[in-house]
Symmetry: none
Subunit: 193 residues, 4 copies
Amino acid sequence: MANTMKTLDKIEKKKYIAEKTLELISKKGLANFTMEDVAVACNVSKGSLYNYFKNKNALIIAAFSALMEKMLSFFEEKISEPESDSLEKSAEIYTQIYSEILSSFPSGDLLRLLEILLNSTHDPSMMQTLTKTFKEYYNKILSNFEKIFKSKSSALMLQAMFDGLVIYKAFGVEISDEEIEENVRKIVLCLAK
Amino acid sequence: MANTMKTLDKIEKKKYIAEKTLELISKKGLANFTMEDVAVACNVSKGSLYNYFKNKNALIIAAFSALMEKMLSFFEEKISEPESDSLEKSAEIYTQIYSEILSSFPSGDLLRLLEILLNSTHDPSMMQTLTKTFKEYYNKILSNFEKIFKSKSSALMLQAMFDGLVIYKAFGVEISDEEIEENVRKIVLCLAK
Amino acid sequence: MANTMKTLDKIEKKKYIAEKTLELISKKGLANFTMEDVAVACNVSKGSLYNYFKNKNALIIAAFSALMEKMLSFFEEKISEPESDSLEKSAEIYTQIYSEILSSFPSGDLLRLLEILLNSTHDPSMMQTLTKTFKEYYNKILSNFEKIFKSKSSALMLQAMFDGLVIYKAFGVEISDEEIEENVRKIVLCLAK
Amino acid sequence: MANTMKTLDKIEKKKYIAEKTLELISKKGLANFTMEDVAVACNVSKGSLYNYFKNKNALIIAAFSALMEKMLSFFEEKISEPESDSLEKSAEIYTQIYSEILSSFPSGDLLRLLEILLNSTHDPSMMQTLTKTFKEYYNKILSNFEKIFKSKSSALMLQAMFDGLVIYKAFGVEISDEEIEENVRKIVLCLAK
DNA sequence: GATGAATGAGCGTTCATTCAT
DNA sequence: AATGAATGAACGCTCATTCAT
C-alpha cells in the first residue's frame, strides 16, 4: 500500500492518481475535495501531484476521463451482441437490458459525471475539454445500442430517457419499476418498427 | 437601481435577493459566486444579506426555489388545454408541444437546476431540503402532462427523455431535430394507446 | 413578561438591563454574549439598549456593579453580628461561617467577577472604572469580617485565601473539606490572638 | 529577526509561536489578540500558523502550557531546600520565601493564567484541556511547598492565599507588606505545628 | 523526481453601532 | 423613547500553488 505507486511508470501513475481523485470526488464532492486529500489518498506529497498534473483542473479532467472509461466498460459488458430473429424477441431483450441497467447501474457514477460536467459550465476552456471527452465516450456507448435499433436517434433518445430517470430516482421522484418496464417495452417496439 | 430595494417589504426583498442570486449562479457558477457578489448585485452590504438569509446555503435554497418557480411557469404557459377528439390528432398536438419546448426551452435553467441539485449530493441536510422542493415542483409540472397521457409514468418518462436530451444538447451531442420530432410522435402515439 | 419593563422608570430599567446582562455573561461568557442577546433577554430592541448605555462596555460595567451588589448582599446576610465572649468560641463561629460559605457560595459569581475584572486588564479606562467599583464593594465586604478580627489585614488575607480556594475548586484541584476546616480553625485562632 | 524561526525545527517553532502568542495575550488580552497579530509577531504568514496549530484554541492551549511552565520554573527557582532544625527557624525561612515571592512575582503571569482559565469556563472541551494542564502544573508547584509543611492542604491553602493576594493587589486593594509578612509568619507557625 | 513548509488571496460570517422612521 | 434594517470593518480559517532543499 505504502509504495503502491513506486513500481508504476509515469503514465500509470497519472492514471492511478486520476482514479483516486475520482473516488474522492464521489465521496466528498467536486467542490469539497482538496489537493491535500488526493495527496493523502495516493500516499504522495502534495507537491508531487504537480509533477503529474499542471493544476487541479487538469486533475479533474483526468478523473472525468477515468469516469467515462468506467461507464463505457459497464455498458459494453452489459450489452452483448443481440442476434435476434424477430422484432418482438429483440424488443424483449432490449427491454430486459434497460430494466436491468436501470436497477443495477451505479447511478452515483452518472450523477458524478453530471456534477463534473455541470460545474464546468462556467469555465469555457474546461467545458470545451470535458465536452470533447464526453461526446467521444457517449458516442461509443450509444453505438452499442445503435446496433439494436439500427437508428442512432432512437438509441440516443432512449439513453436520454434512461439518464433522466436515473436523475429523478436520485432526487426522490417515485417511479414504479413495473410501469417503466412496460413503457420501455412499448417504446422499444414502436421505435424499432 | 441604487434604491431598487428601498420600496420593497421584507418578503419581496428576500425574493429579489434570491433572484439576483440565481442570476449570479447562472453567470459564475454555484461554486464560484460569493456573498460579496450577491451584495454588490443587490446594491446592499454583505452584512445585510444575513438579515434575510441565515447563511449562504439558505440563500442557495431560496434561489433554487425561485428557479423551480420559473420553470413551472414556463411549462404551464406552454401547455394549453388539450381538447383533442382523435388519438392521432392529440398525438400530433403533444408532439408539437414537446418539439416547441425542446427548441425554446432555456436549457440553462435546467442545467442550473441540476448543477444545484448535484452539488447538494454531498450535504445530506441540504440535499433533503432541495429534494423536497424539487419533487413538489416536478410533480406540478408533470401533472400538466398527465392530463394528456392519463398516465403518470408515461408523462414522467417523456419528461425524463426531455431532460436527458437537453443535457446532451448542452454538451455537444449532435441530434437532428427532425428525427427527434419523428420519434417523439411515435412514442407519444404508442404510449397513449 | 412581555412588558416587564414598561412600568419601570429609566433608572430601574437600567438596573433591569444590567441584571439581565449579568445573567447572560454567566451563561454565555463575557466574550460570547452579544447586544442582540441582551435585547432579546430584555424584550427590547437592540437600538433601545443604546438609549440606556453608551456602548457595550458601559453595559458590562453596570453588570459588574450589579454583581458586586449581589455578592455584598450575600456576605452581609451570612455574617450576623458576632458577639462572642471567648476567643475560642468566636474562632469556632468564624470557622463555621467560612466553611459554610465555601460550600454554599455560588462560586460562579466569584468566577464571573474575576472574568470581567481580568478581561478589563487590557483596557486602562475600563480597568480603572471596574477597579474603583471592586475596591468599594470589597472594602464593604471585608469590613464585616474586620469586626471579627479587629484587624483589616487578617480579614483580607483570609478572604484572599477563600477566593483562591474557590478558584482551585472550580478548576479541579481536589481539596478535602475537613482539612480545610481544620486549618481555617487553626489560622483564625492564631490570627485573632 | 527576519529569520529567527528559520533555523528551528518543527517542535521548536511550535514553542516559539506559543511564546510569542503568550506575549500577545499579555499585551492585548485573550479576547483581543488575532491570528494576524501572531503571524506578524512571528514574522510568518497567517496560513503558516495553521501548519503548526489546528486552530486558535489549540494555539491558546499551547500558550497556556508555556505560561504554566514559566510559572513552575519561577517557583522551583525560588524554593531552595529547607534544611531547618527548629520550627521557629523554618517558619522564618518560609515566611521570607513567601514575602520575597509576593514582592518579586510577576503578577501579570498569574493574571494571565486566570484570564485564560476563566474565559475557557464557557467552552467545556477547552476548559477540560486547560484544567488538566493547570492541575498538573499546580500539583508540581505545590509539591515543593509540601516538603516544607509535610501537609498538602496547608501548602495549598497558603498558595490559595498567595493567589488571592496577588489579585487583590492587582485590582487596587491596599495591603501593607509588613502586616502581610507578620500574618504569614503566624500562619506558617500555627499550620506547621 | 519528491517533498512539505510557506504563502497570500480570498471567503463566509459576526456584531457593535448608527440612523431614518 | 423605540425600532430594527443597514452597515462595514474585522476575524478565523482554507487551500491551490510555489519553491528551496
